[in-house]
């Protein structure tokens, strides 16, 4: 089982981003995805600077993947995506079929990000024939569906040529809009957003009127209120044929999270502190085939 670090979903300052990745270089991660995947207006790093950073990080021996914008609307959004797709060297994670098309045109391999809708092996096969070498399962699918997809992929003779990655830790990316909900909260128009999402390095919590953490506002993206944590399911994932567990960056204690995952999947699988996971604001409902927000109730 490999460990990957997903793209930073929040708007962090440039020096924070650079410091964060420096720390990650010394961590047991195998793969690091980077790039702006949420809002094209965020320019802590321009696309060319993401590519530069990615090249520098790739000298570490870790696999570095450039991750593209998810909701691509304006022509300028597409230019940024094109720049990443045509970087000439590094692998690209396509988060929209537009980016997939740009990779297919160049006959280059690509990773399908979690927002590229792959719900069955027929779609997986089709994209594999066009260059897909790895896919991140859509976050709303469950363990049984994944088992079915991988079994069909086996029957199609493609399973051994494709890596499967599962979003295993972090607030779940659930939706994207033309509207910026952080700007809406601050009562300012998106066209003059003043980059207010910079003030919320882990997003802006949205509670029900009873105080239940329901969603998290992150600019144009809506995330889960709870943190999905699939660490207690890692062995089942391995048995199903999952190759990579993805950890999504949070601003606090991310290095500790990476260490914890590493300790359990590589060293001592018996030592997972399930009680701490049970006590926290964590969820694993999607994996178990129920509502995504459902908390882990019984230990697997």
């Amino acid at each position: 089982m490999k460990l990957s670090l997903g793209p930073i979903l929040y708007f962090w300052a440039r020096h924070t981003i650079e410091d964060f990745y420096q720390q990650c270089l010394n961590s047991p991660l195998d793969i690091i995805y980077l790039g702006e995947t949420v809002c094209a207006k965020r320019r802590s790093l321009k696309p060319s600077e993401w590519i530069e950073l990615a090249r520098a990080l790739s000298e570490s021996g870790k696999q570095i993947v450039l991750s593209t914008l998810t909701l691509v609307e304006a022509g300028s959004d597409l230019s940024s995506v094109k720049q990443l797709c045509k970087n000439g060297e590094l692998l690209v994670e396509a988060n929209d079929f537009g980016a997939a098309q740009l990779m297919i045109e160049q006959q280059l391999p690509f990773v399908a990000g979690p927002s590229l809708n792959i719900y069955n092996a027929n779609t997986l096969k089709l994209l594999h024939q066009k260059g897909l070498i790895r896919w991140v399962m859509p976050v709303e699918l469950n363990a049984n569906t994944l088992a079915d997809i991988l079994s069909d992929a086996q029957a199609f003779g493609i399973a051994d040529h494709i890596e499967t990655e599962v979003f295993s830790y972090g607030r779940l990316p659930l939706a994207y809009s033309a509207r910026c909900f952080t700007a809406r909260y601050r009562n300012i128009p998106k066209d003059n957003c003043q980059f207010v999402c910079q003030n919320y390095p882990e997003g802006l919590p949205m509670h029900s009127q009873e105080g239940e953490a329901f969603f998290t506002i992150n600019g144009i993206q809506t995330q889960s209120g709870r943190v999905q944590n699939l660490l207690p399911h890692w062995l089942q994932m391995q048995q199903l044929g999952v190759d990579i567990m993805r950890l999504s960056p949070q601003s606090n204690q991310m290095q500790e999270v990476i260490q914890e995952f590493n300790n359990h999947i590589r060293k001592d699988s018996q030592s997972i502190d399930n009680q701490a996971i049970l006590d926290g604001e964590n969820c694993d409902g999607y994996w178990r085939g129920s509502a995504g927000m459902d908390k882990l109730k019984t230990l697997p």
Binding site: N117, T123, K125, M206, Q209
Partner: protein, 331 residues
């Protein structure tokens, strides 16, 4: 510019056809379409009757098979495509790439439209679906501004259809999982958003509570009109403020944009609402038929009539309408 109208059952289809729809779209009675609601949609027999009626009056029929099959259901989606193809329909509306590939290979003469659930918002995504499956038309998500729609239409390799009226999705369609996060069922997986079986209404001293799988989506005081608890249209707390944090209960209405949409080369306007009623379809289709005809005759002088706007507001969520993302300030 053609008018594409919803038909959740035969009486609605008849109403749409009789009030001037150029095309109607229907779904089958299962989770292969994005309006998988109890009591709605068509079986083999009713769809044949529907197609006879529509074709007899020169109206086209599209079948929506626009959810995303998982392996356990694959055969059902495949069968839906087979059934639709044999019915002699005018186009299939599809979202999933696997289903598109199956339809394109098995029925090369059957026109394919990319569903809004296919989530194509840019020219490269449209090229993907066009190159891979030869789609004839794409329904574009309700996230683009008018300027972006124009730009896309200039470059698009396929016809574009846009939403004109109906319930407003605030999130880009096909990539919204809010409903399954709360209930386990989403438009992509089950053809349902905020499904009725997960809704519970509770009378309390503080007002009427609308709950979705137990989560309080909104609470309505005695004078307030209680709207259906769609997950993105609830009132939530953000840093102490309680408000419609994502969107108010409101419907999309682009009537005033008709001349611009026509000028941009948009081929069809879609009306949302297969889950609504015969009265809704009759009223909305009548207004849009008149408006499109007037716009086609005299685009320069076209302005929406007050009675049209009033009629549309009367069947809108929260009796209010918005231009949504077409209008930059909304964003």
């Amino acid at each position: 510019m053609k008018l594409v109208c919803p038909a959740g059952n035969f009486p609605m289809l008849k109403a749409a056809v009789d009030h001037g729809a150029d095309a109607v779209y229907i779904g089958f009675k299962d989770d292969t379409n994005a309006r998988h609601f109890a009591g709605l949609n068509f079986n083999d027999g009713t769809s044949q009757k529907a197609i006879r009626y529509a074709h007899g009056k020169g109206c086209r029929v599209y079948v929506a098979i626009n959810t995303y099959p998982q392996p356990a259901g694959w055969a059902r989606w495949q069968k839906a495509v087979d059934v639709a193809a044999r019915l002699g329909i005018d186009a299939l509306i599809v979202a999933d790439s696997g289903v598109l590939a199956y339809a394109a290979e098995t029925y090369p003469d059957l026109p394919l439209h990319l569903s809004v659930q296919g989530s194509a918002t840019n020219i490269e995504a449209l090229k993907f679906y066009h190159h891979q499956f030869g789609i004839k038309r794409a329904v574009i998500p309700r996230v683009l501004s008018m300027a972006q729609v124009k730009q896309l239409a200039e470059q698009s390799p396929v016809e574009l259809e846009v939403f004109g009226f109906g319930s407003l999705c605030v999130m880009v369609e096909g990539r919204c999982l809010l409903s399954s996060y709360a209930t386990g069922e989403s438009p992509n997986t089950c053809g349902a958003c905020s499904p009725a079986k997960a809704v519970r209404w509770v009378e309390t001293p503080n007002g009427t509570e609308a709950r979705l799988n137990g989560v309080l989506i909104d609470r309505f005081g005695s004078g307030e009109k209680a709207g259906y608890p769609v997950v993105c249209k609830g009132r939530y707390q953000v840093a102490g403020d309680t408000y419609h944090a994502l969107e108010e209960p409101t419907s999309l209405n682009t009537l005033e944009l008709l001349p611009q949409l026509q000028k941009a080369g948009i081929k069809a306007i879609k009306i949302e609402g297969r889950q609504r009623s015969v009265a809704y379809v009759s009223k909305v289709v009548k207004v849009w038929r008149e408006a499109i005809d007037q716009c086609l005759n005299s685009p320069e002088t076209f302005t929406p009539r007050a009675e049209w706007m009033a009629a549309l507001a009367s069947v809108s969520e929260g009796t209010q309408t918005t231009l949504g993302a077409y209008n930059r300030p909304w964003q």
